[in-house]
């Protein structure tokens, strides 16, 4: 028996290799450097991410399949690479200050972040369902560990355990769905084959495909935290270290949406009627529940958790629309969300101080006048999350609802904007506390480290910049979604 190794080009997966290399290097440096010495983990991680970003730019506009049709190289994947790298880099920047309080500024933390990013890239670029599953697992396992990083803290333990158990459950659903699909499609899991095989399969395989579809929706619904698979979100977001929460809220969600969109747009266009209807209901439920329950939260991390559920709902609207604008808005919104949410979490870390002792929203009372810059930044992120111009959040929502209107889902758009109205209430409450309530106590100094200042600056400027000049990104996103047939 001869085994032929298909030809491949390593540069096509350059970013993956760089990140893997950087992660392993960090682990080695950690193991080999003498105990108690402050090592250059964040710098190494950032360097790795920078090189990966450069490689991503070099690959831009390249299009193809490699590694025996396992990996897509296209702008859709590359756009997501850039989003992941941005999210991870900002997370790395805000981590050290936070982790040092807990004495957890460890090499493995940064290595795990990089591995998780690698997993996300696999998900965005996978051309075969098994590749996507591998990516999902690489990402998830790294994040399970990260969530439980503060192992002396019961809440962190609870978060990790909940996330692991429920996450494993949802992975199983996804895998089971793939098995069904394998049968229905007559023995293939290549995304570019699936559509034609499923269409040709005839009535007999239809129930099997529908079952697979349902299982996929469960699996991805869990990862993007859509109702009714959202139960884990508030507890995990609250318990996990804040920097990890930030990472999960943007990175994991973006990766799951990347795979979600690619599978549904490429493999199931023939079943559009079926899944669009389900997602319509899920989108409405997710937006509404996230926004309404967020009103009742007094812990800022829990509030942002419910807000992230609500944002998953808006993103589902983009999927429901299933037109070019919908796909574009998905990309744009995920990038905008990465910026504004990481910015908000950066403020949460700065205000939290001393092992998260200030996490209640009432700790923000009077912040706006005691620390004007910090208050202004938080206000900006809150207005952006609420979707008020001239921020990236507004433009993102504008795209999403445009897509819904264009596709004829006017009611969905109306429900969506009404949900924004509900969300305005709790985002506004933070600004009310910051600017209109007197401080309950002197807030004391806030330790602005250069890294955290950079995070806030980059995110604040980014939120405004792509909110006021959305053209460039829009064109890039249009360019990225051209890979889908019919868009």
């Amino acid at each position: 028996m001869t085994l032929t190794i298909p030809s491949f080009t390593l540069s096509n997966i350059g970013p993956w290799l760089t990140l893997t290399g950087a992660a392993i290097l960090i682990l080695l440096v950690d193991a080999l450097s003498p105990k108690g010495r402050k090592a250059y983990f964040p710098q190494l991680a950032l360097l790795g991410l920078a090189v990966a970003l450069l490689q991503t730019f070099c690959l831009w506009n390249k299009r193809g399949l490699d590694f025996a049709r396992m990996v897509y190289i296209d702008n859709f994947a590359l756009f997501f690479y850039a989003v992941f790298i941005l999210g991870t880099a900002l997370t790395v920047l805000m981590s050290r200050h936070y982790l040092e309080d807990y004495g957890k500024d460890l090499g493995e933390y940064y290595a795990l972040l990089l591995f998780a990013t690698l997993g996300m890239m696999l998900m965005a670029a996978g051309a075969h369902l098994i590749m996507i599953f591998l990516g999902l697992e690489v990402m998830s396992i790294a994040v399970y560990v990260l969530a439980g990083l503060l192992r002396e803290d019961p809440k962190s333990n609870e978060a990790a355990l909940k996330y692991l158990v429920l996450g494993a459950f949802s992975s199983a659903f996804l895998l089971f769905g793939m098995a069904m699909l394998y049968g229905a499609a007559g023995g293939t899991l290549y995304l570019d084959d699936l559509a034609s095989r499923l269409a040709a399969g005839g009535a007999l395989t239809q129930p099997l495909t529908l079952l697979a579809l349902a299982l996929f929706i469960v699996g991805f619904g869990f990862k993007v935290a859509s109702v009714p698979f959202h139960m884990w979100t508030p507890d995990v977001y609250e318990g996990a270290p804040t920097s990890v929460t930030a990472f999960m809220a943007v990175g994991v969600k973006a990766a799951a949406f990347a795979a979600f969109a690619r599978i549904f747009f490429l493999a199931f266009p023939a079943f559009k009627v079926d899944w669009v209807m389900v997602l319509w209901v899920l989108a409405v439920a997710t937006m509404t529940l996230g926004n309404v329950v967020a009103i009742a939260q007094t812990n800022i991390k829990r509030m942002l958790a419910y807000s992230s559920i609500a944002h998953a709902g808006y993103l589902l609207v983009a999927l429901v629309a299933m037109n070019q604008l919908g796909a574009v808005s998905l990309l744009y919104y995920l990038l905008a969300y990465t910026l504004m949410n990481l910015g908000a979490f950066g403020v949460v870390i700065l205000v939290g101080r001393k092992k998260d002792s200030y996490l209640s929203i009432y700790d923000y009372s009077g912040l706006g006048f005691q620390h004007p810059a910090l208050g202004a930044a938080m206000a900006l992120f809150m207005f952006a999350l609420a979707g008020i111009p001239p921020t990236a959040g507004f433009v993102g929502k504008f795209y999403i609802f445009s897509a819904a209107v264009q596709a004829g889902y006017i009611w969905l758009a109306i429900i969506g904007v009404m949900n924004s109205l509900v969300s305005v209430f709790y985002y506004l409450r933070i600004t009310v506390l910051m600017y209109m309530k007197p401080a309950e106590a002197d807030l004391g100094p806030v330790a602005f480290t250069p890294a955290l200042t950079t995070v806030l600056l980059v995110t604040a400027v980014g939120v405004l910049l792509i909110g006021i000049f959305p053209g460039f990104l829009y064109n890039a996103a249009v360019n990225s979604v051209k890979i889908f047939p019919g868009l």
């Binding site: 006048f369 006017i410 506004l428 009310v432 959305p470 829009y474």
Partner: protein, 511 residues
């Protein structure tokens, strides 16, 4: 190459904010002085609009257009016509006055206050000049934030937060539905013509089936009706007015409310003319209810600010009634009445603010006989009250007379009911004036109140000038709006005459 006056007007205050950021926050005099200088400069910049405005053409003037987001059909497109000219000038005139009025009033967080004021100015001017629906929406929403902060941070401690949130949520509610309608309109236009654009003037021409007009008119109309505010949507107004600091109330009354009426003129009616005709009875009746109800409720108020707030509901009812007559005097009267209301109600809020600074109360019962210690104040207050009532020779009369004339042409009953509003206005204003100013000084504290200072007189001087000017020779102003109004009415007349039943509208059947 023409100077981009409109862009300068919109963005100069923002540059002013940058300048303010570098000033010492402790030195209130400098902060206020610089802001006053900036707003005065802004007013000077706006003067060429008045002098170089060609009143013979209904076309947009001082137009600037740059591609902003071409792949989506969004451009930075601004211009001025007879509808917006006066409102822009009103805004730039009032801002320096407002800064002067803060001299004693605002004593803490002055820097932030001035920044909010300048941001608000920029937003308001943006709303009045925008000719691109996207641009308009951006300004419309952006302007909410500084106003919300003005009410919430510097307002009356007891209920300012409640009022600020109520203001924000009410306005947001309307504007979000408007956003959906804008999108529907955008895609309808794109499908009908093949080009996707947010250009308002191009959209004026496109044919929209009636059932779409019906819903979009309601969506836009809700946003604007909340802002005006029309009768069932007015409940945010008394709260916002009462709790806001003096200057906040002045701007709210004088400019922000006009955005609603302006929105009807600029967007609702020309975009959806058939629906506009269809909704004449509904909106006229709501306007009438507003006129009478606002006046009656005003009469019963114990708080001066609340009284003036409810009188706004009544006055704006007149404006809406005038606009929905679609007659020359009605519409022109409506526009003039917008300016009048800005001048006289703005002045009334300033007056209440000055009394409040001296006595720290706004309850009518706490006053009485103020004309003895404060004769100059009494004289100014008298003129402003009479202007608000609509005494011939002052501005209020011109607006209300034209509106009643227009309404009489359109529907005699409307006109008759509206006329009672004028009588009620005389009742509540004069009664209030009598209780506050005349008679014996009943409270010891009122005996030694200081009369107006030179600064305070300077605040009123320009307002009084225009109150008399519009009253005596309104043609200066009517002339500017004439061509635009004629063009607008011609547009509306073309759409007249389609009779539609409600069930047709719901079913989406074409008439």
């Amino acid at each position: 190459m023409q100077l981009p006056i409109l862009s300068i007007l919109v963005f100069f205050p923002l540059m002013g904010i940058v300048l303010l950021c570098f000033l010492d926050r402790k030195n209130h005099k400098v902060l206020k002085g610089v802001t006053f200088g900036l707003s005065l400069l802004e007013f000077l910049f706006s003067l060429p609009l008045w002098f170089r405005f060609d009143s013979h053409t209904p076309a947009m003037q001082f137009v600037e257009r740059y591609p902003w987001f071409p792949s989506y059909g969004i451009s930075y497109y601004v211009g001025v016509d007879g509808f917006s000219l006066l409102l822009i000038l009103l805004t730039t005139l009032l801002t320096p006055i407002c800064v002067l009025a803060t001299w004693e009033d605002i004593q803490h967080r002055v820097k932030e206050f001035m920044i909010c004021l300048l941001a608000l100015m920029s937003g308001m001017l943006g709303v009045f000049v925008a000719l691109d629906l996207f641009l308009f929406y951006v300004f419309w929403e952006v302007m909410l934030i500084p106003m919300y902060l003005l009410i919430g941070v510097w307002g009356n401690p007891a209920r300012r937060i409640y009022a600020a949130i109520k203001f924000f949520l009410f306005t947001m509610f309307g504007s979000l539905l408007m956003l959906v309608a804008i999108l529907v309109l955008y895609f309808h236009y794109g499908q009908a013509t093949g080009t996707y654009t947010f250009d308002l003037l191009k959209m004026y021409g496109v044919a929209i089936p009636f059932h779409m007009q019906f819903w979009m008119f309601l969506a836009f109309g809700l946003a604007f009706a909340i802002k005006v505010p029309m009768f069932p949507f007015h409940t945010w107004l008394p709260d916002a007015h009462t709790e806001a600091p003096t200057v906040g109330s002045v701007i709210l009354a004088a400019v922000l409310l006009k955005m609603g009426t302006y929105g009807f003129l600029r967007f609702n009616m020309p975009l959806f003319p058939q629906a506009a005709w269809y909704f004449v009875p509904l909106f006229s009746v709501l306007a009438l209810i507003g006129i009478v109800y606002g006046a009656l409720v005003s009469m019963m108020q114990k708080d001066l600010k609340r009284l003036i707030a409810f009188s706004s509901v009544s006055h704006l009812g007149f404006v809406m009634l005038g606009l929905f007559t679609f007659t020359m005097p009605g519409v022109q009267g409506g526009i003039i009445q917008m300016i009048n209301h800005g001048l006289s109600t703005g002045a009334l809020f300033l007056i209440v603010g000055m009394v409040y600074e001296r006595r720290h109360t706004r309850m009518i019962a706490d006053f009485g006989g103020l004309s003895t210690p404060m004769p100059i104040f009494a004289a100014i207050f008298m003129v402003v009250s009479l202007s608000s009532i609509g005494l011939p020779g002052l501005n209020g009369f011109v607006g209300e007379f034209l509106i009643l004339l227009g309404a009489f042409k359109a529907n005699m009953i409307y006109s008759t009911i509206a006329a009672t509003g004028v009588i009620f206005a005389a009742c509540y204003m004069l009664w209030m004036f009598q209780r506050v100013m005349f008679g014996e000084v009943t409270h010891e504290k009122n005996r030694n109140l200081k009369d107006l200072s030179l600064r305070e007189i300077a605040i009123f001087a320009p307002l009084l000038l225009f109150i008399v000017w519009i009253g005596v020779y309104p043609n200066t102003f009517l002339h500017k709006t004439k061509a635009t109004t004629e063009n607008f009415l011609a547009m509306m007349d073309k759409a007249k005459g389609t009779k539609v039943s409600l069930s047709q509208a719901f079913k989406g059947e074409a008439p």
